[in-house]
Each structure stands twice: as structure tokens, then as C-alpha cells.
Symmetry: C2
């Protein structure tokens, strides 16, 4: 069976700026005990997901398109682009933002540890 991705939009995610568009690959129900989110996230220029923490789960970001600014648990700032993986370990904080002039896209998978 083939179906389409499912778009949801949210404002001020984790106190971030603007709108976060998420194109879901799986629903939370389909992921079951594995995790709670799997989708492609699009941040338009100026948009961000604010500083937040994951406990008992992880959320690797995999960059597909554009340029973003990733801040890790140690407040280290990384400019990330296609092919980069932002690694989040259990209990760590992070944020991500698009300070560029083009859309920034990445895959997000939140899975249980």
C-alpha cells in the first residue's frame, strides 16, 4: 500500500520562532512502543525549534536540504547541512534554527532508548 505523507503545522515549538511544518511518515500509533515521531521537518527562513530536552528517548536529526544552526547540550553551535547527523543523547538539551535565506529540511525520529 502507498499513501501520502501527513502534514501538521505548529507555532512556537518549544518556544521557538515561527511555524514548524512536519510531514509525518508514520503516525504515533504505527510507531507503537518504538517511539513517537518520524517525519520530515521544514523550517522556513527565520523559524526555529527552541531549546528543549529529551529524557528516556533520543532524536537524531538528519539534514536533507539547506543550512541550519544546531546548538547541542554543551551550547556548542554547529552550522549543519545535507548529510549531517545531529546526535542527541538521553537527557540532553538542544535547539535548531534556520538563519539562512532558504528553507531548511531534516528528518526527525524520536525513539525510545
Amino acid at each position: 500500500m502507498v499513501r501520502k505523507e501527513i502534514l501538521t503545522q505548529a507555532e512556537h515549538v518549544q518556544n521557538g520562532r515561527g511555524v514548524v511544518k512536519t510531514y509525518h511518515v508514520c503516525t504515533k500509533e504505527e510507531l507503537g512502543e518504538v517511539g513517537r515521531l518520524y517525519g520530515r521537518v521544514v523550517l522556513d527562513p527565520g523559524c526555529s525549534i527552541g531549546w528543549h530536552r529529551h529524557v528516556g528517548e533520543t532524536e537524531p536529526y538528519y539534514v536533507l536540504k539547506g543550512q541550519g544552526t544546531f546548538i547541542d547540550n554543551d551550547k556548542q553551535v554547529y552550522q549543519v547541512g545535507p548529510g549531517d547527523v545531529c546526535v542527541i543523547e538521553d537527557g540532553q538539551y538542544h535547539s535548531i534554527e534556520n538563519n539562512s535565506d532558504e528553507p531548511f529540511e531534516f528528518m526527525a525520529l524520536i525513539y525510545n532508548l
Copy 2:
């Protein structure tokens, strides 16, 4: 922490044609009990992953780029493109191939049910 995707290449995957390039987001060790593969798969023109089955796990494909031919468990043939999700249920067979003139890319996540 930020790191790069990890490329592996394999020939004749599931008796398919040509080379399958997989850019891994997570290692098998990082996925732990969640699953065993998470990465971006690139099939160049003429390449394919042959007919195979998943038992006790699922593997949604999420198409990022190009056009591919997905054959599901009922032998139904779908032409798929960006934004399409190929759903595989427990115990089902499937195959995927690139019969186009451009590279075909999708995210693959094999997770336990």
C-alpha cells in the same frame, strides 16, 4: 555532537540489480532494540532491491527524490515520488526499483513491531 552520515554500498540486494547505496543516520548499535536500519537509500537508474519479506518488523519507505516502482505484497505496482510512503505490514513482501533516468532516493527505517 554532529557527525556525518555513513555510506555503505551493496550489490544485488535481495537479488536486485546493480548497487544500493545506503547513507546511514544511525548504526545498528545506536538503534538497539528499536530496529536495525535507518538511512537514506539511493538507487541509481536501473538499480533495484529485489522481492523480499519482513517478519516481526516493518520498513516504511519515504520517498525524497526521483521516481521509483514499488511492488507491494499483493503484487500491485505503484509509481512513487516525493512525499509518498510505502507501507509494509508484518509478514509482507515487497520490492522497489528505479526504472527512470534519474537517481531515486528514499528514507528506509526498519523497526521492530
